[in-house]
Amino acid sequence: MNIVVILKQTFDTEEKIIIENGEVVNDNAQLIINPYDEYAVEEAVKLKEVHGGEVTVITLGRSEAESALRTALAMGADNAVLIENEDELSLDEQGIAKILAAAIKERDFDIILGGNMSVDNGASQVGPRIAEELGIAHVATIMKLEIKDSFVKVERDVEGDLEIIESGLPILVTAQQGLNEPRYPSLPGIMKAKKKPLERLDIEDLDISEDDLQPKSKIIDHYLPKKKEAGQILKGDIQAQVKELVLLLHGDIKPV
């Protein structure tokens, strides 16, 4: 089975966000695999363990995204592709999806996995867009995946409810939290990962027109939320505090 994982390197979720001149500052931040993409890597490696085949992880990013790919290789992926955006070409979700789809198109694939969102941009667009670009089916926010020959059964999280969905290969699925428990790379895994093939591509190497890369949306400002003032710690015995709190809230909200 040919398995492709699309992943993104993001800030560690511990990081505070700093904005200067309307832009997010990305120096010195700890970088990780987007946590939702990590579930996708884990699921891909599990698929390979059951069905055989190869796992290829693909990312679009700056040169330092290599470390995210090496982590995925250490978890058990076989090959990696880094599409470099060294010029920091300004791209929107459409451009990103077209680039990744163009890179995937050049290989054989039965299934593509990714996270259902990134913890930085959080738009949830790239997965469904890639599926449309490739002309294949997709199911987002999956909690369980079973494949038998070319028959696919998934459980999709729908705001807390579960849909049991049947489909076939090829397919693109995006991972929801709870799909699995990503493994920690083992020491031998990390050593092996250093020698596994990592292909570097430029955006220009891909079959994609300049028109397709033209962003159709633009960010005009970034800002931080207003700092919340610490409020009031209530005093007195618990019973009195509870009474006071309900009175305070009663002025502010209308409990149904």
Partner: protein, 326 residues
């Protein structure tokens, strides 16, 4: 003057409130031009009047049983047909399980931009969308510079305003075919409960809840307030509750009127998911807990003592209120 189309969405036989919120945004953008809604499935016709109440001047319905369950293929076929018929400049929907899935897929077909998960929309010379990034640790303002404007609006952030329109219902026949994903069964784990992302009140538990049993008093409080129960990652990782309840940078982002954090320390990832709530109450044994830094009101104490008392006190006040209104 801008023609706006809204994809409306029903859940469990009821129009979702977010659809009314989106219609309110649509009216703001349309500035007197036509606001059209569309709704899919065999039950679609039932919702036309309600949609008119919030300003839909036309309602396109695609009445097809293949649209009773969501599928990307089915919804894409229906939505692209409606867009082709209406020819709007702006297409909006809720940032829901359906909205965030179908908009990028349809947009890829139309070569259009989507601005996802918007919490505010300003309709001046340009339409400026505000959306959180890093789950609310920061925000960005975005505009569409070319072509059709598509956007998904986060539930619970824009007040739905009634705006009665005289509405025309138009049935559109669309051939729905070749569905590559088929919903075989829906397991209602969250049924009967208030949806976390749309809840006006969220009662949330952390490591301090100690067990799945420990969520019971939180569920009771949420029940009395008509709210939903949420959790921190620590509580989910410890298997006290399902991951679908997780609030934070991984998990859901919520913006209720009232957020009651019980036994939650307040890690930066959790704060990202809830700090835009209107009023935050923290209940924690540890007076040093980070959550108190962002809480409007804090009680230092054992949640197992405080939460049941709070439930009782709210019950009393609600009962008094009912006496007055009766």
């Amino acid at each position: 003057m801008t023609k706006v189309l809204v994809l409306a969405e029903a859940k469990n036989g009821k129009m979702r409130n977010v659809s009314f919120e989106v219609l309110t945004v649509a009216a703001r953008i349309a500035k007197g031009d036509e606001v059209t809604a569309c709704v899919f499935g065999s039950e679609a016709e039932r919702y036309c009047q309600e949609l008119a109440k919030y300003g839909a001047q036309k309602v396109f319905i695609v009445d097809h049983e293949e649209l009773n369950n969501y599928s990307p293929d089915g919804y894409k076929q229906a939505l692209l047909n409606v867009i082709n018929e209406v020819k709007p400049k702006v297409v909006l929907t809720g940032h829901t399980s359906i909205g965030k899935d179908i908009f990028p897929r349809a947009a890829a077909r139309l070569n259009a931009a989507v601005i996802s998960d918007c919490i505010e929309v300003e309709a001046g010379d340009e339409i400026v969308f505000t959306r959180p990034i890093y789950s609310g640790k920061a925000f960005q303002k975005k505009v569409v510079t070319d072509g059709l404007i598509m956007a998904t609006i986060r539930p619970n952030n824009i007040q739905a305003i009634e705006n009665q329109a005289i509405s025309e219902t138009i049935k559109l026949l669309v051939e729905i075919k070749d569905l590559r994903t088929v919903v075989k069964e829906v397991v209602k784990k969250a049924s009967g409960k208030v949806d976390l992302s749309e809840a006006k009140v969220v009662v949330s538990g952390g490591r301090g809840v100690k067990s799945s049993e420990g969520f019971k008093p939180l569920q009771e409080l949420a029940g009395v307030l008509g709210g939903a129960v949420g959790a921190s990652r620590a509580a989910c990782d410890a298997e006290y509750c399902d991951y679908s309840l997780q609030i934070g940078q991984t998990g859901k982002v919520v913006t209720p009127d009232l957020y009651i954090a019980c036994g939650i320390s307040g890690a930066i990832q959790h704060l990202a998911g809830m700090s835009s709530s209107q009023i935050i109450v923290a209940i924690n044994k540890d007076p040093e807990a980070n959550i108190f830094q962002i809480a409007d009101y804090g009680i230092v104490g054992d949640l197992f003592e405080v939460v049941p008392l709070l439930t009782e006190e709210f019950k009393k006040i609600i009962a008094e209120k009912q006496v007055i209104t009766n």
